[in-house]
Symmetry: C2
Subunit: 335 residues, 2 copies
């Protein structure tokens, strides 16, 4: 596999820290294209079923222009696979081009796929999705823990081999996320055999998943601060964010839910370590479609939608600086 210069950081955690530090902001711009929300000038396809390929081409154009607008401002982007899969194979062709475009612009790419499967199937996902020489080329992906630790292992193994990363869903930002994640759990009594696991009894399900993630993160850290395994923790649960930062000291946190989902900048302060690292904060819709809302609509209108995107990104970066405090006060940091 191709390697960067020896002076460049190589592991997932070091590369991610490098991008965040270089950009001077932990903001990650989510890429959630929706064809019917694109600026009129970009909607060249006919509406309706039967024009999937043309609609996919439109969202591809939008995404690449979006990346061009935010690449000077942030270090990380997160394309959401669903909004590409929605257009069928043509959408997936565009997704690969979008990842390539983002990487060429120097961005760290987290592919938000929330995959999860067993054994060799998980290995196929991992092989396919992770690493610069894979056909998708993601720096990291999101995965779902419901199938248990052995379903995560193939992802962790491939990620470690390729200096890529895996973010495991721990506590999600949706209102109903707690239905299963917030349940109190205990290992069923099996005649004493599993008593060794009893230290985890009473933990909520997401806390137990967090304990597993920390184990994987610490194991893959190899003496460094952070490992190849991170965690997704919603910005809509600030109290849990504090607890989970402490519970997973070796895990980068990916924190979605800022902006449209109701999370506020001051709520995410707890996600960071004392160096201002260890967390990236995602905003998708509020930035992607900034031109559709005030004050950006009046200021830029639809025609200058890329300027609206850049302005909303800059405003979010400022909000994060205020909310997070001194960590990123000095603005863009250079090496």
């Amino acid at each position: 596999m191709s390697r960067p210069d020896s002076a460049m950081p190589t592991t997932f955690a070091a590369r991610l820290a490098d991008r965040v530090t270089h950009a001077g902001t932990p903001l990650c711009v989510g890429i959630d294209p929706r064809w019917d929300m694109l600026p009129e000038a970009l909607r060249t396809a006919d509406a309706g079923a039967g024009f999937f390929a043309e609609q996919a081409a439109d969202i591809g154009t939008f995404c690449r222009e979006l990346i061009d607008a935010v690449a000077p401002l942030v270090g990380v982007v997160k394309p959401q696979s669903a909004f590409f899969e929605q257009w069928g194979p043509a959408g997936m062709v565009e997704l690969a081009r979008v990842v390539e475009h983002a990487r060429a612009a120097g961005l760290f790419v987290i592919l938000d796929v929330k995959r999860g499967d067993i054994g060799s199937t998980a290995a196929a996902y991992a092989e396919g999705l992770l690493g610069a020489d894979s056909p998708w080329g993601a720096d990291a992906i999101t995965v779902n823990p419901y199938l248990g630790g052995d379903s995560l292992d193939p992802f962790v193994e491939v990620a470690t081999q390729r200096d890529a990363g895996v973010f495991v869903l721990v506590k999600t930002s949706n209102p109903g996320g707690g239905q299963f994640q917030d349940l109190s759990t205990a290992a069923p009594d099996s005649g004493g055999r599993e008593r060794a696991a009893s230290r985890l009894n009473g933990l909520l399900l997401y806390e137990r998943v967090a304990a597993h993630v920390e184990e994987l993160a610490a194991t893959t850290a190899g003496g460094e601060a952070y490992g190849a395994v991170g965690a997704v923790v919603g910005a809509t649960y600030p109290q849990q964010l504090t607890e989970l930062r402490q519970a997973m000291p070796h895990a980068w946190l990916l924190v979605p839910g800022l902006g449209s989902q109701g999370g506020a900048a001051e709520d995410v302060k707890a996600a960071f370590d004392t160096s201002g690292l260890g967390a990236i904060i995602n905003s998708s819709r509020a930035i992607n479609f900034a031109y559709r809302r005030e004050p950006y609509l009046s200021r830029y209108g639809e025609a200058r939608w890329q300027e609206a995107v850049a302005a909303a990104t800059e405003d979010t970066i400022e909000e994060l600086k205020e909310g997070v405090g001194s960590l990123f006060r000095s603005g863009r940091q250079l090496h």
Copy 2:
């Protein structure tokens, strides 16, 4: 959307029952292509990275010929998305062609994607994946419940609109599936407010997910025996299969793990209702690559791999008949 003749069943559950009854077997053939396991004659691409498009074309050919071999014998197939995503966008182009080929052969197609996401993202997955007029055209998909009931609702809504189906992961067939799924759960005490939910306290996580699935299945059944929501329950846990059949009387069960994963035909009997319906039993690798193992290797060799596939399928159908008993004793049933 295009509608079948008025004499044809339209809902997901009725269509699935029709295919199973017509085929006279509940066997579902999983489609898990692995390029390096293809018969030599089909591996026309060079090995290694950089030939993803050519390798994808090879697996597409294999899958279509596999479908041709099994279409006269079974009613349902289940392509596994990971083995197509592995080859990048070119693999996804092949996946769509494989789904189309299977539907054209009269097969019911369950796309095994195990997706799961929140709100409008889940809706994008559902819109994209489900229904004859979607760009993928699946009759049903598999989904992951970790994100909670509100993450499942968009899938259920779209499935109901389009007479498609959703199989929710409940109890998976992998050895480590129990790490989270088998935990005993209780709603945390929140000052009495959630006491109404206490009837579920003490249930294992997968039992709680099953209770939610049954609620969705019953709601979408509209007075019929089965609803638009089913459950994935591994064949490797025969005792749980009995309990889960009882716990989810309105849910079709998709039972993977037969064959390579160690599940035996007699273990799955409990998955069926008294009419011999309500469950489909999946086998993937043992059928896909039958030519690589005895007795098929000696009998057919690599060159006649399609005959090996057909023979392994017929043998599995017979094993299921013996294991399941009288339900399918009479062989292929005609209308």
